[in-house]
């Protein structure tokens, strides 16, 4: 396990670059994100550990980060003041662009939002593009619903009342375009098939506090990871009768960020409020072969 310590910064999101398997980014905030500023950390991992390549500061907390998929230097963060920043790792001076109003979708070519999608009745905690259908994305909300949207339509294509509590995270299965997972404040994960949304395909219980983030493995059809306020990261395989494969307790604070490496099979990055970012291969995955499909 490799650890990066970021003193006085508490990690909210971590993502590994889709271009460079050794590159990762972490969106972190001062004072647990409750007040103060934020820092975007661009890190690089090697056998020796993790080092800081560049960091960018913002005057409010940064709560999410994602890498561009058409430019290896570009990343985007979401901030507590409602704005979205576009950064270039090659440009140390500041964001390339700052886009304000977080309820809207942006085209980086244009400074105004392309489209606004209304429908949710609560905070939208998470949105994820479908890896299979280009115009489709899913969103998880504090209103307890998982919604699937089509960019071409202005309204949600599908509304699933997935939990009786706020849903903090969702993710698509990388191998089945109809499968999604949601993680909620009720401490459960539910796997859904969009073709029959009456009940979940699987319900994964084990966390003792709200689930903060979920990711499906890019290498296995039924494997996913979740991180929670209960300080743990858990690995699940929902095709098994006993789905919980492993519980990792290497953090001492809320774990908020989680991502799989697209290039290094089964490598996971996570970040937590305990001022650390960790990169590791969970033991339960180390022996698994990547999925053939």
């Amino acid at each position: 396990m490799k650890t990066f310590r970021c003193p006085s910064r508490h990690g909210y999101a971590a993502e590994i670059s889709p271009f460079l398997p050794s590159r990762l980014a972490c969106a972190a905030s001062q004072h647990y994100g409750i007040a103060g500023c934020g820092t975007l950390l661009v890190l690089d991992q090697d056998e020796g550990g993790i080092k800081l390549i560049r960091s960018f500061d913002w005057n409010d907390g940064l709560f999410d980060v994602t890498w561009s998929e058409n430019n290896e230097h570009v990343l985007v963060t979401g901030a507590g003041d409602g704005s979205v920043q576009v950064w270039d790792t090659a440009n140390p001076r500041g964001p390339l662009q700052v886009l304000k109003e977080h309820t809207q979708e942006w085209d980086l070519e244009r400074p105004q939002s392309l489209c606004t999608f209304r429908g949710h009745e609560g905070v939208v905690y998470s949105t994820v593009w479908s890896p299979h259908v280009t115009s489709c994305f899913a969103s998880a909300s504090g209103d307890g619903t998982l919604r699937v949207w089509d960019v071409k339509m202005g309204v949600s294509r599908l509304v699933i009342p997935a939990h009786n509590a706020e849903i903090l995270s969702c993710d698509w299965c990388k191998y089945d375009q109809n499968v999604l997972v949601t993680g909620a404040v009720d401490c459960g994960l539910r796997v859904w098939d969009l073709r029959s949304t009456r009940q979940p395909v699987a319900e994964l219980l084990g966390h003792s506090y709200a689930i903060r983030r979920l990711k499906f493995s890019p290498f296995h059809r039924t494997l996913l990871a979740s991180c929670s306020y209960d300080f743990t990261v858990r690995i699940w395989d929902f095709s098994r009768p006993e789905p919980l494969l492993e519980t990792l307790e290497h953090h001492t604070e809320f774990v908020c960020g989680l991502d799989f490496n697209l290039h290094i099979p089964n490598q996971v990055v996570d970040c937590a409020w305990d001022e650390t970012v960790k990169v590791y291969i969970p033991a339960s995955l180390a022996d698994l072969q990547p999925c053939a499909d």
Binding site: H31, N164, A165, D186, C187, Y209, A210, F231
Partner: protein, 484 residues
Amino acid sequence: MHRLRVVSGHLSPQNRLGPYSHAQIARSECSASLPVAADDIVVVHGLRTAIGKAKRGSFKDTTPDELLSAVMSAVLRDVGLSPDKLGDVCVGNVLQPGAGALMVRVAQFLSGFPDSVPIYTVNRMCSSGLQALFNVAGGIRNGSYDLGLACGVESMSLRSVGNPGDVSSRLMDNAKARDCLIPMGITSENVAERFGISREKQDAFALSSQQKASKAQERGVFQQEITPLTTRFVDEDGKERTIVVSKDDGIRPGTTVEGLAKLKPAFKPDGSTTAGNSSQVSDGAAAVLLGRRSMVEALNLPVMGVLRACAVVGVPPDLMGIGPAYAIPAALRKSGLSVADVDVFEINEAFASQAAYCVEKLGIPMEKVNPNGGAIALGHPLGCTGARQVVTLLNELKRRGKSRGRYCPFAAWKTSGLIMIDANLLTWHHPPVYFHCCTPLAGSDGTGGCAPLSRCLSAVEWAGFLLRVNPEWPAGTTNSERPL
């Protein structure tokens, strides 16, 4: 604090899936985080006289008004405050007639205070000194004045515990009332028996007190807090001379376990409480200057600590001395802190039996208790001790450069209490929320790294309240005042 509410909402246990039962998550304001406010009650400065053994020691011929006058003048002189700025003076005293109401007025004039400055006394037995602080803080809090002096004084050479006053004969029919007449030494035996504090444990505790005090005295630790006093002293042959007293004379550096073991029980033939493991009867005085922060800053006075809250608890009269065991948890609960968060506890050693019991009951590591010795070694001038402990505590915190002190007096008959004092001048800021089931949201200072949360807790018997004091914070994002 929208974000805090959102996160709190995530942690609420409603609608929980699965059979997991968890400790309740509760959000509570952590006293450690209260930011600076103009209305804060701050401790500006404090001093004490040396403590002298009653009847044989340095102050055996000194009247209490002289002791009191010396500390009152010294405190104001040190900070350059003219006495006419004081809104009130409250003095703790137990043994003087009328708790010394006339005596203190004399002391005031001996100090050259103008007659426009009022003064009064308070008697909550051994907590009187602390109660004086509480009273002055209350006066500041309720807007009666901005600056006040809280003092304590006792001459046990010139007056003794004895006369219970005029009480009804019905007292004999009321068990609790009757218990109020139990001599203190017997209550110590009661505690020792009831809670199994052996003679050996008591002697060990006493030895530790003597050792800590004598080391502290050697290192000159008390020099900062003692104001020297020139006074009269009558020799055995009746000759009077003038002496300057600047050292506590009760400390016995040569104390050994064997020596303590030889002592005969002092209160009960087969008892375990001896002169060696009880506090000494002593003479002394202490004064603490308190003020409203806005006025203190306007006058450019220093700030040693900030007071926050008070609480009072009662305990059975026949077990007088277990007070801190109730007061301390009450204070900790109020502030969302635990024994582990506190670095130093000052617990009055009325008797080693009760002090040891409280320490054991609360699971306080001994190295955290009374770092400079306690009443067994230093002495316990009844009305003075509460104020004396605040002075010792604040100076100890200053020395350690640590952030928080808590001062706990406990009461004998009916009340038990705690004062908590923070003397931190570090500037660090953290969210004012403490999630009980998670690690506390300890703050980080701007330069990276966590500032330690250190606290002192000290207890005096007879005390009545909890004053919680917080460090100097930069203006924070929220401000929640706690009523006194």
